[in-house]
């Protein structure tokens, strides 16, 4: 990260929260409960978390597919909530979503050409330029940019090919920012590796800012230089991926990394350092939201909510302990 990008991040998130349920009622769900982070231009960040941690809601908020309850998201210096009309259309072109399930993401009645032409038409790209853009986009994801590919329907393609089309469509308008929500979770292992390699190439070739939302630690490590870990609506750790995987600082991250099996018979089978979730909800408005599952929790963890603090260069964690 150089000095310039430090000064002007592409994405600047402050106090972002999204609550579901009637305001003021006891039963509200704090899906996203106060996020503060910045993404530098060209940065590729993984957002790790279990189901219900708020990671998908965060992705939707970043793309303005859902409105925040409080807080703001600045995109290139402007609050995205202020976008209207052509400014909103321009934002929609510059910030793209890569869908999780390639089998659902494409209209089964559309050929690849029709699917790729749609965003170009919406962005009012002149007709004569569309064909070139489509072929370039296919080329980028290693699908032959030929008439044969463009005339195919989804049912004539494999899952891996479909995911490439989905990715090509997200990249076709040369966006500045993409949010990829579980981009390979529906794919088989032997084809998954190919898509992950395309994602790596995209990361290196385009100066694209990207968030990969996943529960898969290995995927995030493979593609993202930086990782943020979410737990019950908050970021509990944020740091360089290699360091975070090698020496996690937050007790939740320690358990998460320790629980990932490896494809070799010799591996760690020690019980993972976490209390089993009892399914019940704790009061997250006071204290640490991980305290009921943490093996190290003490009085302070019930009384006072830990905030993100710097523990190493570019590495922050929200924990009172010094692990």
């Amino acid at each position: 990260m150089d000095a310039m990008t430090e000064i002007a991040p592409l994405i600047d998130v402050r106090g972002l929260a999204k609550y579901f349920g009637r305001p003021g009622s006891k039963a509200i769900t704090r899906a996203v409960d106060g996020l503060d982070f910045r993404l530098a231009r060209g940065e590729t960040v993984g957002l790790l978390g279990e189901s219900g941690s708020g990671k998908t809601t965060t992705g939707r908020l970043l793309l303005r597919l859902t409105e925040p309850s409080t807080g703001e998201i600045r995109f290139d210096g402007t609050d995205i909530a202020s976008f209207r009309g052509s400014a909103l259309r321009s934002f929609r072109a510059r910030a793209q979503l890569v869908f999780q399930n390639p089998f659902d993401a494409l209209d089964p009645r559309f050929t690849v050409r029709q699917s790729l032409a749609e965003p170009l038409r919406n962005a009012r790209v002149p007709k004569h330029q569309r064909e070139t853009s489509m072929r370039a986009a296919l080329d980028r994801v290693h699908l032959p940019g030929t008439e044969a590919t463009l005339e195919k329907y989804p049912h004539q393609m494999s899952g891996g090919q479909l995911q490439r089309v989905v990715l090509a469509r997200a990249l076709i308008l040369d966006p500045d920012f993409i949010v990829a929500d579980e981009p390979v979770s529906m794919l088989d292992v032997s084809v998954r590796a190919g898509i992950l390699n395309v994602l790596r190439e995209v990361r290196d070739a385009l100066r694209l800012t990207a968030i990969y939302i996943s529960h898969d630690v290995a995927l995030v490590r493979y593609v993202c230089a930086r990782t943020m870990v979410m737990y019950r609506g908050k970021i509990v750790e944020d740091g360089p991926t290699a360091e975070l995987v090698r020496s996690p600082r937050h007790p939740y991250t320690v358990a998460l990394i320790g629980a990932v099996p490896v494809p070799r018979v010799e591996q760690n089978r020690e019980p993972i350092p976490i209390r089993r979730s009892q399914g019940g909800r704790i009061d997250v408005t006071i204290g640490c939201r991980f305290r009921d599952r943490c093996l190290h929790a003490h009085d302070r963890c019930t009384a006072e909510e830990p905030t993100l603090r710097v523990v190493a260069r570019d590495h922050r964690t929200a924990c009172h302990l010094d692990l």
């Binding site: 292992v189 998954r192 590796a193 490590r221 629980a259 990932v260 099996p261 018979v265 591996q267 399914g279």
Partner: protein, 355 residues
């Protein structure tokens, strides 16, 4: 722990040590299952053979459409309406259960062979509380009244759940708790074999690990045979004694997990190992296997992996390689199995797979 009396043949004793001198608990031979579809018959399982020994946990591994679930369904006798077994045998404690009628199969299910589905939401009845579902399964084994209540508490304890879940409906349980209930139900009548279809796939990493630990612990304590169907070789490496690798309806390699994953002899297994991220190793380039599995309406004449195999020779495209034993318990279906050490070395290079 006290187990209720369950009728068992003398063929199997819970005291027997697992080993290759005892006949296997389950012996699947040349099993073929087809689905009748509008566009012709699909041979989803095409000549599958494997064994499962008492107290052994076997991972049945493969990608979507390889036939692993269809093969497992045939074991439990619950198959889709358009599926039929066209040949082969499934010897379970020495009897061929493919010859069983509906009533005989019903007597085997739950009592001797039970099933843990991928998503317990689909197997648990949404309108019944956990307690009612437990009692229903126990009733099939003739356990009612107070013994049923005691057994229920014992089963919940075995899977790490408290009695508070008894009055809950399935939707009130977390994914991990539902899988634990499904395991408790599967163990209710003290079966010999549990078939678990992707039992942890839908779960978060930490919950996945906790459920796997529970399952493995029970499997060892109760000396159960378990077939774990999964696409995840890391899960197999974590908890299975042996592994059966399927590709396009056939077994391509099988044997002890340490052997098959440590020194794979079939190029498909080698490719699968390359494509799998390993968190404890450097984030090297993952190498995909080019192409995709064949259409099972129209399979290649020879080895089904040949069109994607970087080591295929002429013979591979013409003749189907048989599954042959190369070492004790290690079987491979590859014409070049004797060259496995050389191919294995070449398979670790990314360039080999990029054509």
């Amino acid at each position: 722990m006290t187990l209720p009396p369950v009728s068992q043949t003398d063929y199997i004793s819970r005291e027997t040590r697992p080993g290759y001198d005892v006949p296997p608990l389950l012996s699947v031979r040349d099993l073929r299952v087809s689905y009748r579809t509008a566009s012709g018959d699909v041979h989803a399982v095409d000549g599958v053979s494997f064994d499962v020994r008492q107290a052994e946990m076997v991972g049945l591994v493969g990608e979507s459409g390889c036939g692993k679930t269809t093969a497992a369904r045939a074991l439990t006798g619950v198959m889709a309406g358009n599926a039929r077994v066209t040949s082969g045998s499934i010897l379970f404690t020495g009897r061929d259960i493919l010859n069983y009628g509906v009533e005989e199969m019903r007597a085997v299910r739950w009592r001797e062979i039970s099933f843990v589905p991928q998503s317990a939401m689909n197997s648990l009845d949404p309108v019944y509380r956990v307690e009612q579902q437990m009692r229903e399964v126990l009733r099939r084994g003739g356990i009612r009244g107070r013994p049923a209540g005691e057994r229920t508490i014992e089963l919940l304890d075995m899977v790490g759940l408290g009695t508070d879940v008894l009055r809950l409906f399935p939707h009130q349980l977390s994914g991990g708790m539902r899988q634990r209930v499904a395991i408790a139900l599967a163990l209710a009548l003290d079966p010999l074999l549990v078939v678990a279809d992707e039992p942890v796939t839908a779960l978060d990493v930490i919950v996945q690990r906790e459920v796997l630990d529970t399952l493995r612990d029970l499997q060892k304590r109760l000396r159960l045979a378990v077939i774990m169907i999964t696409h995840d070789i890391s899960v197999v490496a974590y908890c299975c004694d042996s592994i059966v690798v399927m590709y396009a309806g056939q077994v391509v390699e099988s044997g002890p997990s340490a052997t098959v994953l440590g020194a794979p002899a079939h190029p498909y297994t080698m490719g699968l190992c390359n494509a799998f991220p390993d968190l404890e190793r450097a984030a090297d380039l993952l190498v995909p296997i080019q192409g995709s599995p064949p259409d099972l309406h129209d399979t290649p004449a020879g080895c089904r992996f040949a069109p994607r195999c970087p080591f295929a020779i002429d013979r591979c495209a013409q003749e189907i390689p048989p599954l042959m034993e190369t070492d004790a318990g290690h079987k491979v279906a590859c014409w070049r199995d004797t060259e496995a050490p050389i191919l294995r070395a070449r398979a670790t290079e990314a360039a080999t797979w990029m054509r």
